[in-house]
């Protein structure tokens, strides 16, 4: 089994690691909300947001390279959705191109919105990567439960997280078996049928594994409850961090708004 575990830096020790997962979840949500509320033209605002999140990353002792790498992996997907924007915004035309039969024009307004969407998406992803890298998944799930996510969903999520890696291995093995049987040279419809049969097989194997897991848990006294040792609790440090971080983010958002109005 070869997987890079996403919370592999979560056992380090730092100010950010010691915070209660609830504090971190709420802070990240607040940060992303403030970024979303900030007007596209407010570049200084975005610079301040970047400084805030960069400071957090440095405080957390998570390797900067790791955070950058994980956040940049997502950017192609963002560009894929955002790529239409510059072409379909009204306003002053920045450049016009003839591509085969279409005349395509890019507007200044459209470009600004495009860069803005990219900046917002990247800042948000940085915040989420920092959250995941500094929090154990079990703590994160407990935090979600304390924040009133329904219990049954927290339990589904915790089972899911335990078995993602097992089933991913299963998929890798199936892919390897498939590829060694000359999958690539078949017709497209046949390839799709093969993938469908693999999906069906994977479903049956997962279902049967679910039944086996339940039987094994029942034999060991499972009564529908899961018990985990207590993680970090809500302490004075959380209060200080929450107030400081919240104030920085909210003030940046308000000042950006005021600056634009004036």
């Amino acid at each position: 089994m070869k997987h890079s575990f996403l919370d592999k830096y979560s056992d380090r020790d730092s100010l950010v690691h010691r915070l209660d997962p609830r504090t971190k979840l709420v802070a990240v949500f607040l940060f992303i909300l403030a970024v979303a509320l900030t007007s596209p033209a407010m570049w200084p605002g975005f610079a301040v947001y970047f400084v805030i999140i960069a400071a957090l990353v440095l405080l957390s002792h998570v390797p900067v390279r790791y955070v950058l790498k994980r956040s940049l992996v997502i950017i192609p997907f963002v560009v894929l959705i955002a790529v239409f924007i510059p072409f379909f915004k009204e306003g002053e035309v920045a450049g016009s191109y003839n591509i085969w039969l279409w005349q395509v024009s890019v507007t200044h307004n459209g470009l600004q919105v495009f860069w803005n969407v990219l900046a917002k998406a990247w800042l948000s992803i940085l915040a989420l990567v920092t959250l995941t890298a500094t929090t154990k998944i079990t703590d994160l799930l407990r935090g979600l439960e304390q924040l009133r996510l329904p219990r049954v969903m927290v339990m589904i999520l915790s089972f899911m997280y335990r078995y993602i890696f097992v089933l991913t291995d299963e998929v890798m093995r199936m892919k390897q078996a498939r590829d060694s049987r000359n999958f690539g040279s078949g017709r497209r419809l046949w390839q799709i049928k093969t993938v469908g049969s693999m999906t069906g097989t994977l479903f049956i194997r997962s279902y049967e594994r679910g039944e086996r897991v339940y039987a094994a848990m029942l034999a060991r006294g499972y009564d529908g409850q899961t018990r985990t040792p207590d993680g970090p609790g809500f302490r004075a440090a959380d209060m200080v961090f929450g107030l400081g971080f919240g104030a920085a983010v909210v003030l940046t958002c308000i000042f950006s708004f005021l600056y634009q109005v004036i």
Partner: protein, 217 residues
């Protein structure tokens, strides 16, 4: 189709969060009523299954490839409410743990790919089996059309949300998203159909199995 953060405005975020929270809390109520403790590990593993199945790529036109969303398959095999719960958990994990899909956009993503996709697939599947009979042929055709429709309809909702947020005008983004996904949806439909056919041949007893029958969740 995972919408990242940065695209949706706050009004759209609030609306989709409220809609998804409503849908999930109804699904949880149904689950608490009808599910016993046995089914929680099962649903967790099936959520991991959806996650793993999304890693299987299938070829689409011109050298591109797509992967399963899986809501159609889950809704037809397990019923729409179980599918809503499972897909919501998959999307929460993808957003929080894998950064696939934004946190503010999570409400919209759960609404599109969890609630809308599950129910559109399920209703079209039911309509097909009502029209063609509850035979193997009816089920597979229903599975194909249902899964195709789930992708197209949820992409249209995503387009509407993007347009309402002012990212692109509706007249552009709606046909673009629906057109691309009408093509991708054929792959989803075929893969779902083939998967259903295999389950029907190997373990027909799992189909809408005991617990997660339509009336049950």
């Amino acid at each position: 189709m995972h919408i990242p953060d940065g695209f949706l405005n706050v009004a759209t975020v609030a609306t989709t969060y409220a809609a998804s929270a409503g849908g999930i809390s109804y699904a949880v109520r149904e689950a608490n009523k009808k599910l016993r403790e046995k089914h929680v590990p099962l649903m967790g593993i099936l959520a991991a299954f959806i996650f793993a199945a999304q890693m299987l790529n299938f070829p689409i036109a011109g050298g591109t490839s797509g992967h399963l969303v899986g809501a159609g398959l889950a809704a037809i095999l397990l019923g729409p409410w179980a599918s809503v719960l499972i897909m919501s958990c998959v999307l929460i994990a993808q957003s929080l743990i894998f950064q696939d899909g934004g946190l503010l956009a999570l409400g919209a993503n759960i609404f599109n790919m969890g609630i809308v996709a599950s129910f559109s697939a399920y209703f079209i599947y039911r309509m097909a089996t009502a029209a063609l009979g509850d035979s193997r042929r009816g089920r597979l055709i229903g599975g194909f059309v249902g899964a195709w429709a789930s992708v197209v309809v949820s992409s249209m909702f995503a387009a509407i949300e993007l347009a309402l947020s002012g990212a692109s005008p509706l007249a552009v983004v709606l046909p673009a998203m629906a057109g691309i996904h009408a093509l991708i949806g054929i792959g989803e439909g075929l893969v779902t159909g083939a998967a259903l056919s295999l389950v029907l041949a190997a373990r027909p007893d799992l189909w809408q199995s005991r617990v997660v029958r339509r009336s049950a969740i």
